[in-house]
Symmetry: C2
Subunit: 450 residues, 2 copies
Amino acid sequence: MEQKDRALADMVADLARSSNVEELHDLLQNQRPEDVADLLEHLDGDTRDVVFAALDQPMASDVLPELEERVREDVLEGLEIDEVSRLVEDMDPADAADVVGDLSHADATAVLERMDPEEARELRTLLDYPEDSVGSVMSTLFVAVRADGTVGDAVETIRQRAEELGDFYYVYAVERQGRLVGVLSLKDLLLSPRARPIAELMHRDVISIRVDADREQAANVASRYDLYALPVVDPEQRLVGQVTLDEVVEIIEEETSEDMYRLVGLSEDESVFSSFLFSVRKRLPWLYVNLGTAILAASVISIFETTITKMAVLAALQSIVAGQGGNAGTQTLTIIVRGIALGELDLRNTWRALLKEFALGAANGAAIGLGIGLLVWLWHGNPWLGLVIGVAMLLNMMVAGIAGAFVPVVLRWLRIDPALASAVVVTTVTDCLGFFFFLGLATLMMPHLR
Amino acid sequence: MEQKDRALADMVADLARSSNVEELHDLLQNQRPEDVADLLEHLDGDTRDVVFAALDQPMASDVLPELEERVREDVLEGLEIDEVSRLVEDMDPADAADVVGDLSHADATAVLERMDPEEARELRTLLDYPEDSVGSVMSTLFVAVRADGTVGDAVETIRQRAEELGDFYYVYAVERQGRLVGVLSLKDLLLSPRARPIAELMHRDVISIRVDADREQAANVASRYDLYALPVVDPEQRLVGQVTLDEVVEIIEEETSEDMYRLVGLSEDESVFSSFLFSVRKRLPWLYVNLGTAILAASVISIFETTITKMAVLAALQSIVAGQGGNAGTQTLTIIVRGIALGELDLRNTWRALLKEFALGAANGAAIGLGIGLLVWLWHGNPWLGLVIGVAMLLNMMVAGIAGAFVPVVLRWLRIDPALASAVVVTTVTDCLGFFFFLGLATLMMPHLR
């Protein structure tokens, strides 16, 4: 929080404690909804409810969609269903769908029943789109004008809906059946005489996306072509919505976090202040999976218990070989998972990436293997022990390069999210083989080691 | 690549092989620059040079800034300095700065010397802004109108610069000295009579950012308030540029990737197809740092060599305790680093997050400790061995929660990037203490274990 925000937060908390609702209302009325939302997120639950109750309805409707899910749930729990319905009716359809979509099924049904039937119908359509589809993130507030009209007609349409529309830059041209046939910008309209036909002015080569496509694809297309908004069409090419660039920003933020989280076995729904039980429930399964793989790796060590009994220093050195393999494998993995997400890897160039990572594993493995080999030689005064750990390190880091690159590519080919399962598989491989290479070589060379 | 793109790519590759420059030119002339850039990125070096040479100058100027750095470097290497100067002159100043900024100092100087002096001066100003500052990412193409003018004046200004400007939504109102005093949208202009004074129409409460602020801050502000562009001012509040939303998308993508990369010791400059030597140079130092910490952890094991000689199974089980600590610590770490990046954590609520992560470590530690304890009891038929590993697991996962949460917070307080160094510190702590807890307890309980 900035200095200024903190001063405001203190003032609001004081007013809330003295239940000075009128002054609270006046103070918050002139703030931006995003700032009020931020403020609410930083207050404790009871103060928050007092402050939210002090907002008038339009402000409350603007603030709710801006709140983090966790805080919004808290706020909504304190409201009657009737109040929620009224607030939702005031929102943009896309925001309303976000809010209602997070409610329990029973609450959502109750809210929809109390709403204006026409608005409820529209909301139900939006809520029916599958999660992560373009339909679930698009806005149904857009300007469509008839392609056979004039600039003057378009300006009139915009004037009538100016209040409701908020900010927008593109105006879409549609045919009689609603089929999208062109796009123009406010700049085009502003610089053209009113009598000019839309059909002359519009760009016919319009980039659009299907309502059932993946939202990540919409984000990629919009950001690739630097579009302020991407029109959304149904299978009959009829315009049904648009994905705005602020939504694109949110999608990209979420999808990148998602990859980052999944690599370490976190759920993308978890955040710093998720409830304790939620976090336990989300993290434990992955920890149990890792426990299983750790036991597997331990059983590899068990095979060599006789060797270790003869020479306990091996037990200390084994973890260096396994750990470095894990580190190198995770680096490769992250690069490849990111390359897949950014669309840099396709069928034709994947083999190049695999080859490079294998070579990198060999080069870095040689460098690290030489370093640890010399060190162990000096430390324990036995060149053979240095040779064993050096060679095991080289082998394991080559394995790390191969596994780190192959596993996500194969998972993706199997249509499993590479970010989700790759890390577990790769570290299991580098752990098991790391122990096997090192202890196996040590067993073979035992006569020279002691 | 999509089906359609692949067909185009094949056609282009065929034409390039037969050096059919004219047909190449005609085929590519009607493509979007982003698509041509994508095509070039997927071609091998020689074919790429032939294809790039077939583009006419305006298309080449549009394509260059869209290319990945690595590919752009390749393309630029094949061009004369004179050609580069001409291409750069044709670009938007921000794009030109991107391209010239990536050149070697000598090449950049040579390019600037051959450019129009006025344009070169503007470019030098942009190049002088520190990396990661708002100045380094802003566009100097924006529309400013006099606050004491009329809507008609503004439309005239826009008309004169329409070609050069591309897409934009906001028009900034400035005073005589260039001080930013208001903002209006194209929608405002479109719906107002031409005689209306700008001063009446403009929004005075304009959100802006200082040119020397961090680019990440610009991205956060623009995305928070859903702005199409964020005006940039100098210390005297004079308008000097704007950060557009497509730039915001890029910043957010880069900063999130950066965090993800740094957590595993990768450089943010590396991508799937970075050169082999570049990747070796960037990854090796981190692997060496980790080698150091692995040796530290190994030396903890060494303390207990006598214990291990007596009971080699401990060498197999020790890595389970250390590894699970690392996994849990990395989960906590990722949540906290992300919370810091998203601005969810501030001074007031950090203690709450720390407390929660500690409690989570204890809860998950109890669950995992119980699981492995029972398993080891059954496996080895010795309840004491189960107790030792269960308790060591619980302790180490509590440590993981504390270290995973404290380390990034402390690093950030020390102004060290938490993403960069946290993982190494946390896993060193969980490795060393994991081995220490388990082998230490085992040593104490040795009479019961055998």
